[in-house]
């Protein structure tokens, strides 16, 4: 029972980690919260649905991140850079508007009903571990989530570009004085963040459903996670995503009547205790 609970919350947290660490990365570099992140995730899910019906799930998992990374590059050049001198609130509002536009175009093209994606054969069904039967797809999700977590930490900790990202998010002006090209980093980080959102969207297909409201649900969850984790802290976001996943899953098991409100209660409690969130702020300090 406990093991199932933890496994389920890890599966949910995997998706949330991919999305909220992307949000935190952009925030670290640009001081901008991308309110359109939910819409990018939704775009990933619908593109994944289309590609999966034509060429299969694995092709979708390969192509969608590449397509969305290109979108991220466009987003960086067409929105973030021209608006660099504007206030962060204004840029955040622009991303909100762009998110609404993307979401509405998707609804216009695909219609209002929910779609479902089948997991590939190798990932369907369930396995028995320690006398517990568990769906393979969720194990795959956990592996993907924890794997991307590890890769992200490795990148930030062990590579020069990761070091630069940490430096810029700690102190942009000093980092710039040291000769770090923040624009080039931002290009990398933005495309990485949208690509991760794309992976999360494709992965969400067989796990959750692909429906028109998914962008709002996910962006609200991610915003809660980012606030709980301490805005801009990737480590905080990862811990908060795990906490969020656990609370959500445990809430739906133990408090089915109130499950929809449990994440908000968590948010309020955290805000009451630590208004700045649980992380130490900024990226991976």
């Amino acid at each position: 029972m406990i093991a199932l609970l933890i496994a389920n919350s890890l599966a949910l947290a995997s998706l949330l980690i991919m999305l909220s660490s992307g949000l935190a990365l952009i925030y670290g570099l640009r001081d901008v919260i991308n309110f359109g992140h939910g819409a990018i995730y939704m775009l990933g899910a619908y593109l994944g649905y289309t590609i999966a019906t034509v060429g299969g799930f694995w092709l979708a998992l390969l192509l969608v991140p590449i397509m969305l990374a290109l979108l991220g590059i466009a987003f960086e050049y067409l929105a973030l850079r021209p608006l660099q001198r504007r206030s962060h609130i204004e840029v955040a509002l622009v991303t909100l508007g762009l998110g609404i536009i993307v979401g509405q175009i998707i609804i216009y093209l695909y219609g209002g009903e929910a779609r479902s994606v089948d997991a590939p054969k190798i990932l369907s069904g369930s396995v028995t571990i320690l006398h517990l039967s568990y769906p393979v797809y969720r194990l795959f999700l956990i592996v993907m989530g924890l794997g991307s977590c590890a890769l992200l930490a490795l990148w930030l900790r062990a590579t020069p570009s990761g070091l630069y990202v940490r430096a810029v998010s700690q102190d942009p002006s000093v980092a710039r004085m040291m000769g770090i090209n923040a624009d080039r980093l931002s290009l990398l980080v933005t495309s990485l963040s949208t690509a991760f959102a794309g992976i999360a969207g494709v992965l969400a297909g067989p796990y959750l459903s692909v429906d028109p409201g998914m962008d709002v649900v996910m962006i609200v969850n991610c915003l809660i996670i980012v606030v709980i984790g301490g805005t801009g802290s990737i480590g905080g976001a990862i811990v908060a995503a795990l906490l969020f996943g656990f609370v959500q899953v445990a809430g739906s098991v133990f408090l089915p009547n109130l499950a929809a409100l449990v994440p908000y209660i968590l948010l309020m409690v955290v805000l009451l205790i630590a208004p700045g969130g649980i992380g130490r702020g900024r990226v991976l300090s």
């Binding site: 609404i100 216009y108 805005t231 929809a260 805000l271 208004p275």
Partner: protein, 344 residues
């Protein structure tokens, strides 16, 4: 803004900025009053019921936009949860009458007090955070309320996805309930309320509270360092604008006679934001004008299902290209052409 001028600004008595000779000033005031009075009456003779209904909806959206714009302009905080108070007001009013057996006026009062408590508590939690986190948290709080009304356990009270039909018997604050459903009378009422609220917020913006809020917006740390409490003014501002949103919500439910989960939806909040951005967030005229414009534009494009798409486009266009909105842009233009005194 240097520290010296800022504190001077705070301690100086509020000076009137209409510095023209006295007869000209009183003439302007009289003309303004006549214009505002005429706005309440004249359209009811000229416009059809349909146009009046659209106009009234626009005024209510304008009231909401006024609340969002005030907080944006004075405190630099963007609230994405206007809908939760707007729709919540309607729900509480309906529940007060049907489930708690209150008279309409008492239900109105109780609903108002509950909302006051809710926004004060929520505000105390969220105005301490930075403006970006504030924006995220208002969005989250709004979603929380719209999930809450759909809870299975509250279905008997809220009617779930169907919403509630609100039957009002007798009088509300001395006004017979039937009058609220009459398009012409409701237009006059909504117009009067919008004008009064607009004037009140304009006055608050020029008061000490407004000056302190703007100074906190510019640099919160410096204000704290200078010995100002930065928490209470922002909380007061947050509660104030939400009371305006509550007034809009009450007017809406009195007029429409039903409440639905849609009135709590995110789209209401984003529509409000767009109305504020269209009109321009500085001043009271812009948001109300923006609300009216949005309402008529929605009638034009809504049938084709384009409203939400255009909402998104409008947010981007007005922030990137016309950050001052229509009214702000026009008044900037008139200033440049020399029609208005510099600094007025």
């Amino acid at each position: 803004m240097s520290n010296g001028t800022m504190t001077d600004d705070l301690h100086a008595p509020v000076t009137t900025t209409l510095t023209g000779p006295l007869p000209r000033r009183s003439l302007a005031i009289v003309a303004g009053l006549i214009g505002l009075g005429a706005g309440a009456v004249v359209p009811t003779y000229l416009a059809s019921d349909f146009v009046l209904r659209l106009g009234s909806e626009g005024l209510l959206l304008g009231l909401l936009a006024l609340s969002v714009a005030f907080l944006m302009n004075q405190a630099g905080l963007v609230a994405l949860g206007a809908a939760s108070v707007y729709g919540g007001a309607g729900y509480l009013f309906a529940i007060g009458m049907s489930d708690w057996g209150l008279t309409p006026t008492a239900a109105l009062g109780v609903a108002f007090l509950i909302l006051l408590g809710y926004v004060a508590m929520l505000g105390a939690l969220i105005v301490r955070t930075n403006p970006l986190a504030f924006m995220m948290l208002t969005l989250a709080a709004g979603e929380m309320i719209s999930h809450a009304v759909l809870l299975e356990g509250l279905r008997d009270y809220t009617g779930g996805a169907d919403g509630l039909v609100v039957r009002i018997n007798g009088t509300v604050l001395g006004i017979d309930a039937i009058h609220f459903a009459d398009p012409a009378k409701f237009w006059s009422l909504a117009w009067t309320v919008a004008v009064l609220v607009g004037l009140a917020l304009w006055g608050v913006g020029r008061s000490r509270l407004g000056a302190v809020l703007r100074a906190i917006r510019e640099n919160e740390e410096r204000m704290r360092f200078s010995g100002f409490n930065t928490f209470l003014p922002r909380l007061t501002g947050y509660v104030l604008v939400n009371l305006v949103a509550a007034i809009a919500g009450f007017l809406h439910v009195l007029n429409a006679g039903f409440v639905s989960p849609e009135s709590l939806g995110l789209s209401v909040s984003t529509n409000t934001l767009v109305a504020a951005l269209i009109g321009g967030i500085s001043g009271s005229l812009g948001p109300i004008f923006g609300g009216l414009l949005f309402s008529f534009a929605q009638d034009e494009f809504g049938a084709r299902g384009l409203t939400q798409l255009l909402t998104g486009v409008a947010i981007v266009v007005f922030i990137v290209v016309f950050p001052q909105g229509v009214v702000g842009g026009l008044s900037g233009l008139s200033r440049r052409l020399g029609w208005r005194r510099e600094g007025s």
